[in-house]
C-alpha cells in the first residue's frame, strides 16, 4: 500500500518494543461485541493509482462540464478564468500541507498571506477590516446576522426579497436556535428598497444582496440610512465579488457588515464547494470583538522584526468554548490563498478591467436574448447577471437547452421552488463567454421556445 511506510518487519519490531504480542492488544478497550474481526470486508480492497484514476475519470466523464458547452449559469457561483499560476502556487507543499498557523514562527507564509487577504477584502468591499474567511457566502451571511444581534442586543432580522433563497435558508437554519426573528417579503426583482418599511425598534439588521439574486443592482445607501435611523445595522451580501470592480462598494454606501462569496476570484466552480466566505465590517472594536472566525494581525518578534500571528482569539471556540462568538474552527484557508493570488495578479487595474468586461458581455447578451420573440428582460440595472421572463416554464427550457448542448442559466424555480416564478430564467455572462457562445445560446433559445 503506497501511502503506508511501515513494513511487516517494522511492525513486528515495534510491537515488541511496545511490549505487546499483537496489534489487537492495542485495541483492547473496544468492547468485544463491537469488534470487527473481519474488518471492512464489504468494501473493495486497495486499488492502484491507475485503477482509481480510471474510475474517477469515468465518473467525471458522465458530467457535462462548463467547458464543454456555451455556459451561462450564475445564481451564486460564477465561472471565471483562473490564471495557471494561481493553481500552481496553492499546490506548493508549504501551503497545501500546512496546518492552521498556530505556531507563528514557522507559519509566516500562511499568516502573511492571510493578512494580505484581509486587506484585499477590506479594500474591495470598502470596509475597515475583514476576517480570515468563512466557509462560504451563505454561512458568512448567517454569522453576520448573529454578529449584528450581539452588537445591537436585538433579535429582529429582515431579509430583502432579492436575497438568494439558499442564503435565506442557511441564515434561518443557523440562527433560529438563537432566537433570531426573521421577517421577509415575497421574492421580487426590484423591491429590495421596500424592506425599509419593515424596520422596527427590535430590528438588529437588514440583509440586502447587491447585485441581488435576479442580477439587479441595488442602491444600499437609503437602506443603510433607514437601518441606522432605527439603531439597526445594514448587512450587505454579495455573491459575485467581481462586481465590486465596477460598483460602488458596500462600505461607501453605508454597510456595517459585508458577507460575500469569494469563489469568483481564484476558485473553481467545483459543483458548489469548497468556496470562500468573506466577512468584513467597520473598523470598530465593538464590531471586531463580536466577529466570528480568525483574524491574522501584525506584531513584532523578539528581534523587533515585523511578523504576523492569529490574534483576538479570545472570541473563538478553542479559548471561549460555549461563550465563543461562533463554533467555526477550520475555515477556507487554501481558497483564501487562491483568492488573494488571483487578486494580486489583477491589481486595481485588472480588477476593474475584468469587471468592465463582465458587464460588457452581459449587456451584449441581454440585448441579444431580449430580441428573441416572447422573451422579456426584467432588469433595469444589472452587472453580469439578469433575469428573463420566458413564455414557457424556465425549467423545461433549461432542460431543452441542455439536450442541445447549452447550459443556459438557472430557472428561478430551481432555487425558489415551483410557483409564481416558474417562467423566470436567471442568466449570467462572464469574461469566459465568446461571441460565438452568445450567438449559439440566442439561436438555440429561439428554437426551444
Amino acid at each position: 500500500m503506497r501511502y503506508l511506510p511501515l513494513s511487516d518487519l517494522d511492525r513486528t519490531h515495534m510491537l515488541s518494543r511496545i511490549g505487546v504480542q499483537n496489534i489487537d492488544e492495542l485495541f483492547g478497550d473496544i468492547p468485544s461485541a463491537a469488534r470487527l474481526p473481519d474488518g471492512l470486508d464489504d468494501l473493495p480492497d486497495h486499488a492502484s493509482e491507475q485503477a482509481v484514476e480510471r474510475h474517477l475519470n469515468q465518473l467525471s466523464g458522465q458530467n457535462l462540464n462548463a467547458g464543454q458547452a456555451p455556459f451561462f449559469c450564475g445564481g451564486g457561483a460564477y465561472r471565471h478564468h483562473v490564471p495557471a499560476s494561481v493553481d500552481h502556487l496553492i499546490q506548493r507543499s508549504e501551503f497545501l500541507t500546512s496546518y492552521t498557523p498556530y505556531q507563528p514562527e514557522i507559519a509566516q507564509g500562511t499568516l502573511q498571506t492571510l493578512f494580505e487577504f484581509q486587506t484585499q477584502v477590506a479594500q474591495i468591499t470598502g470596509m475597515g477590516v475583514a476576517n480570515a474567511s468563512m466557509y462560504d457566502g451563505s454561512t458568512a451571511t448567517a454569522e453576520a446576522v448573529l454578529m449584528a444581534a450581539r452588537i445591537t442586543r436585538r433579535q429582529g432580522c429582515i431579509l430583502a426579497p432579492g436575497l438568494h433563497p439558499h442564503y435565506g435558508e442557511v441564515t434561518r437554519t443557523l440562527t433560529q436556535t438563537q432566537g433570531i426573528q426573521m421577517r421577509t417579503m415575497a421574492p421580487a426583482i426590484n423591491q429590495d428598497h421596500q424592506i425599509a418599511d419593515l424596520v422596527t425598534a427590535d430590528t438588529a439588521c437588514i440583509v440586502v444582496q447587491s447585485p441581488n439574486v435576479f442580477g439587479q443592482v441595488v442602491d444600499l445607501a437609503p437602506l443603510a440610512e433607514a437601518a441606522h435611523a432605527a439603531g439597526a445595522l445594514l448587512i450587505a451580501v454579495c455573491t459575485e465579488v467581481v462586481s465590486l470592480g465596477l460598483l460602488k462598494s458596500p462600505g461607501e454606501m453605508g454597510a456595517d457588515i459585508v458577507a460575500a462569496e469569494g469563489q469568483s476570484i481564484g476558485n473553481a466552480l467545483s459543483f458548489g464547494g469548497p468556496y470562500v466566505g468573506l466577512l468584513a465590517c467597520r473598523d470598530d472594536r465593538k464590531f471586531i470583538r463580536q466577529a466570528p472566525g480568525r483574524f491574522a494581525g501584525q506584531t513584532v518578534d523578539a528581534n523587533g522584526d515585523r511578523g504576523f500571528v492569529l490574534t483576538l482569539s479570545t472570541r473563538e471556540q478553542h479559548i471561549r468554548r460555549e461563550k465563543a462568538t461562533s463554533n467555526i474552527c477550520t475555515n477556507s484557508g487554501l481558497c483564501t490563498l487562491a483568492f488573494s493570488i488571483h487578486l494580486a495578479l489583477l491589481g486595481e487595474r485588472g480588477f476593474r478591467h475584468l469587471a468592465a468586461l463582465n458587464h460588457q458581455k452581459a449587456c451584449a447578451l441581454a440585448d441579444q436574448l431580449a430580441r428573441v420573440s416572447g422573451v422579456e428582460l426584467l432588469n433595469q440595472r444589472f452587472f453580469n447577471e439578469f433575469t428573463l421572463r420566458l413564455p414557457k416554464p424556465a425549467t423545461q427550457v433549461v432542460e431543452a437547452l441542455a439536450t442541445r448542448g447549452v447550459l443556459g442559466g438557472i430557472p428561478a424555480a430551481r432555487i425558489f421552488g415551483p410557483g409564481p416564478l416558474d417562467d423566470l430564467l436567471i442568466v449570467a455572462a462572464t469574461e469566459t463567454n465568446t461571441d460565438e457562445d452568445m450567438a449559439e445560446f440566442t439561436k438555440v433559445l429561439a428554437e426551444v421556445l
Binding site: P5, A34, P101, T173, G272, G417
Partner: protein
Amino acid sequence: MAVHTQDRATRPAATDGTQRLSPALLQDEGLLFEIGETSKCGVDLEALREQPNRLGDLARTSSTGLAGLSEPETLRHYVRLSQRNYAIDLGLYPLGSCTMKHNPRLNEKMARLPGFADLHPLQPVSTVQGALGLMDELSHWLLQITGMDVVALSPKAGAQGEMCGMLCIRAAIEAKGELASRNRVLVPESAHGTNPATAAACGFVIDQIPANAEGRVDMDAFEQKLGPDVAAIMLTNPNTCGLFEPDIKRIADLIHQHGGYFYCDGANLNAIMGKCRVRDLGVDAMHINLHKTFSTPHGGGGPGAGPTVLSSRLARFAPLPFVTHEPGSSFGLVEQGEQDGAADAFGRMCAFHGQMGMFVRALAYMMSHGGDGLRQVSEDAVLNANYLLARLKDVFSPAFTGTCMHEALFDDSFLEGTGVSTLDFSKALIDEGYHPMTMYFPLVVHGAMLVEPTETESLQSLDQFADAMLSLAQAAKDQEHDRFTQAPRTAPSLRLDETQAARHPILRWTADVD
C-alpha cells in the same frame, strides 16, 4: 516604498554555532502592498470593446487600492512566503487531534478533472449524473466504515458537521414535543472547544462532565447528571486524551434510556477504521473530518469537509440538499422542502451541495486504500503512537498509564524543576526541525503535550523524532535554559509578541502603518 527588511546578522546563532538561515534560500519579502502597484497587472484580459453602463448611478468612482504584480513577481512573492511555512511534506507534524497525514497528489489531480472542478452546482440534474454518482459512492464508503444509516454530506467542516448533528438531535426532540423541557447537553471537560460552542449555538445549555483519573468519562458523575432534561451527550471517541472510552456502550445505553441522544465527535476516526463501527457503539450522529481521516489537505486552515453520519432515529431530519436514487439507475437531488422525503429536513447548512472538491479527494483516498488498507491505516496509526509512547515514556511523563490509541498524551511533570514550560519545550522543538505537538490541550492535563504521528510516518522518522524529543528533555534537565526560553532561534521569525497583537490590533495594511 519602504520594504521591511529583517536583519539576520543580529540573530543568535543556531545551537551548533553556525548560521543556518541562508538569505539565498530564505529571501526577505515585503507585503504585497509594498511591492505591488495599482497600475500593474499580471493578467492579459480581452480588450474592452465598448463601455456600457447599466448600473444606474451606482458605478464605482473610488479606487480600491488593490496592489498588482506581474506574473514573475507574483511567483516570487508567494514562493518566498511559502518558504516560511512548515508542512507535512517537510517533516513529521505531530499535532495531536489534527491527524496531519500525507496528502496523496493523486487526489489533487482527480479533484481537478473538469467533470468535477468545472461543474456548476445548479446545472440541470441530467448533466451532473457523474457528480451525484460520486457523492453516492462516497456516502456508501462512509456508511460502511461507520455502520450508520444515512450521511448528510453538505457540512463544510468538522464544526459545521457537529452543528448538523446537533440540529438533527434538536429536530428529533422537537418532533417529540420535548424542546422546551430537554435542553441540557453533557460535554466532557476534555472535549474540543467546538463541542460546547456548537451545543450553545444550537440553543442548548452545557453541562460539563469531569474526567476520571484514567482520562475517561467519570461514570459516577455522568450517571448523576442524567435526567429528563438531558438532550444529548457529545463525546469524542477515542477521546482527546488518545484513549478509547471502554464504557462507551454503557454511556450510549444510559443516555438512550433517559430519552437523550449520543453525538460522537469523529475527529479521531483515524484510530478505529475497520476495528469497530460507531453504530455498534450506540452513536446517533457523528461528523467525519474528511481533512483529517481521509487526507484532504489542511491548506493552512481549510477548506475542510464534515459529512455527518446519522442513525435511523435521526435520518429523516437530515438537511437539504441530498442525493436520491431514481428509476433507471440515475440520481436525483432533493433541494426543496416540498420535495418527497424532505418534509422533516431541519434546514440547510450551506448554499450548495457541500465540499465537492473534498469529496473527490476523499473517495480517491478511500479507493486507494480499500477496506483492507483503511484497517491497516488505523492499525499503523495506533502502532506509531504507541511506539513513540514506548520510546518516550521513561523520560517524559505520560498523562495516563497503559497504551494509547492514535495519539500519546504527556503532562509537564517531567519538566518539574527545570524552569522549562510546555510552551518553551514546544518552541525548542522547532529548532530541532519539527513542528510542535498540540500543547495545553486537552485541558484536563497540566501542561499537556499531545502527540499524533499518524500512520504515514516511517519507523526511521519516528526514531528521529523520539531522539530529538529525548535530547531536548535531557537539555531541559541540564538547565540549558537559553535553548528553551530563546526558542525558536532558527525560524524565519523569533518568538512573536501575541500580547501586543491583541492589545493593538493591526488587522490590515494601510498606507500609514509601519
